[in-house]
């Protein structure tokens, strides 16, 4: 039997990033993925002759020398044809009941647009974005600096709630709502959200927003190719059902088909709760830890609609569309019933290369929804779920259409076909317990000293993934970097990353 330096469970962006770094450093790695395709939330699927993305709509910090570009370059996984720059004059459209605002690329441009809309708030706007830019500087795994961390700035950035910063600067409710919009990308309400986390998300998006030219699958392929070129292995259809423990250490990983993979290290990019359940000797965890895992809050589940409209409704393929009700983001993740309108939705063109006169418009549309609405069907099999499940999905889909229809009057009638997904679908694809979109709830309470990973109570079992650092593709990639750094030493990697960044003029 072959033994590896590192056996990696799951093939989400975080796992693949760790695998690419470790294999680049000469470690033998073996990635085990349960599905027929690698990538986790990067999965695409085809319907109605169109390709749809699930969790890859856009990413930030991808201009030359910016953090994501630097990291991918370091991994030998940067392929410019995989990405497409979004509309620099307005890539994110935020629609509120009474007004609309579009974020153009670049800090100066965003500040201009906001100041034009909120002239009396010029100082607040200026200060907010300058605080964002200052906050991101203190994160070495984002800014790629190998200097000693200024712990006090880091603590301040992650222990200050977003709402405290915003409310200190402005009392204007509309402006506050705009500055909170990206909470939908991490699923944490402003009073719980660490300012530093929100800052990284905003900074990356404002500086270098890109869509996926050929879907998330193509991005995954670049990572897999890099790993394989380094001699690493990626195995599909390997559902891990046990982490074997010997003398308190992880000895091997078992797959459902009987395969056993020994590793000096075991690294898991699956949801932490799932990872810890795989450990075959639960007594390595204290009752306090088990209790903590049971109680740890999850981010919201998500509902997806993947459809084809016979009209473009003047949607621009190089923009993303956010819709908000007047309910306020603080209440966006409190749910009524599936028969009530969502308070926020996100629409993304499924193709970034639609021609101007196109006669059909493929899109994905997402709104938060709790697992509770669908938990009756939690244990039913994917592809064989009963009719009442489909009916329940229909009920909420109609509410989402109604909501978006308030902004695009003929939206519902223009739909020729669509399919839907629910938190139960997420559970099937990613093993995230509540079908959560962004893993554990990244509140101040679950961040910093209280964050999970990369170390665990099993010394040679490490975890990575969006639950360990911050969510999103960039967050997962940076989590992968940090976890690999735990094995090979983070400082030398940060030094190399810094050199790439500097060489690219940043």
């Amino acid at each position: 039997m072959k033994k590896y330096d590192v056996v990696i469970i799951g093939s989400g962006v975080s796992s693949l990033t760790s695998a690419a770094i470790l294999s680049k450093k000469g470690y033998s790695v073996c990635v085990l993925e349960q599905h027929t395709k690698p990538g986790g939330y990067m999965h695409c699927f085809s319907r109605f002759g169109e390709r749809f993305d699930t969790g890859a709509h856009y990413v930030g910090a991808l201009d030359r020398g910016q953090p994501f570009h630097t990291l991918l370059t370091y991994l030998n996984a940067y392929d410019p044809s995989v990405f497409v720059p979004l509309d620099p004059t307005g890539f994110d459209v935020f629609r509120f009941p009474e007004f609309e605002i579009q974020f153009p690329k670049g800090y100066a441009q965003v500040i201009n647009v906001l100041t034009e809309r909120f002239p009396t708030e010029a100082l607040a706007i200026q200060s907010f974005f300058s605080e964002i830019q200052t906050a991101v500087q203190c994160f070495p795994t984002y800014e790629f600096s190998d200097e000693t961390i200024d712990q006090i700035s880091v603590m301040r950035a992650i222990e200050t709630p977003l709402s405290v910063v915003v409310q200190r600067l402005t009392k204007n409710a509309d402006l506050q709502a705009v500055l909170y919009s990206y909470c939908t990308l991490h699923g944490v309400i402003p009073s719980d959200a660490p300012f530093g986390l929100h800052a990284i998300m905003m900074d990356s998006i404002i500086r270098g927003p890109y869509g996926f030219a050929k879907g998330g699958d193509a991005f995954t392929e670049t990572l897999v190719r890099a790993i394989q070129k380094n001699g690493g292995e990626v195995h599909l259809r390997k559902r891990v059902n046990r982490i074997e423990i010997e003398n308190g250490n992880a000895k091997a990983v078992h797959a459902a088909d009987g395969g056993r993979y020994e590793g000096k290290w075991v690294l898991s990019g699956c949801h932490p709760k799932h990872t810890f359940q795989l450990v075959d000797r639960q007594e390595v965890f204290s009752p306090a830890f088990r209790e903590r895992m049971k109680n740890i809050k999850e981010t919201v589940g998500i509902f997806g609609i993947y459809g084809l409209s016979s009209q473009t409704h003047s949607f621009n393929p190089l923009k993303n569309y956010y819709y908000f009700s007047n309910q306020g983001i603080e209440n966006a993740f409190n749910f009524g019933s599936p028969n009530s309108k969502p308070s926020a939705a996100f629409l993304c063109p499924a193709s970034r290369t639609l021609s101007a006169g196109a006669e059909k418009f493929p899109f994905s549309l997402h709104a938060a929804s709790p697992m509770g609405w669908f938990s009756d069907w939690r244990d039913s099999s994917f592809g064989k779920r009963p009719d009442d499940y489909r009916q329940q999905k229909e009920v909420f889909a109609e509410q989402v259409f109604k909501f978006v229809g308030e902004y695009h009057p003929h939206f519902r009638e223009s739909l020729s076909k669509y399919v839907t997904s629910s938190p139960v679908t997420n559970l099937h694809y990613n093993g995230s317990e509540e079908g959560s979109s962004y893993g554990i709830y990244h509140s101040i309470q679950n961040t910093g000293a209280r964050a999970l990973g990369p170390r665990t109570h099993v010394p040679n079992l490490l975890i990575t993934g969006q639950s360990t650092l911050f969510p999103g593709i960039l967050g997962a990639a940076v989590a992968g970097l940090r976890t690999a750094g735990h094995i090979v030493g983070i400082k030398p990697i940060l030094k190399e990353l810094k050199e790439i960044k500097l060489a690219n003029g940043c």
């Binding site: 603590m155 306090a288 209790e291």
Partner: protein, 90 residues
Amino acid sequence: MNNEKVVAKVNDVMRRGFEIPADKLIPSATLFEDLGLDSLDAVDMLVHLEENIGVKVDGEQIMKVRTLQDIYTLVENLAAEPGAHIKLDI
């Protein structure tokens, strides 16, 4: 003189959360050397304590904790804060 209810509550949390025998739970016991916890356990302890007494503990304060006595003092101070609602029932 320690508040007896606080001592009983903290000891109960430690005993149940970390399966530490009652006779080891003496005020001078150091968390790492005597009680065998490590830095990851310390975070679990913080969260476990917070959930059990119903109060958030400042991360910086917990960093300074070395012995069981330090935890008693920490919880006593929290309990003495105006408006504090600490759950001390076992």
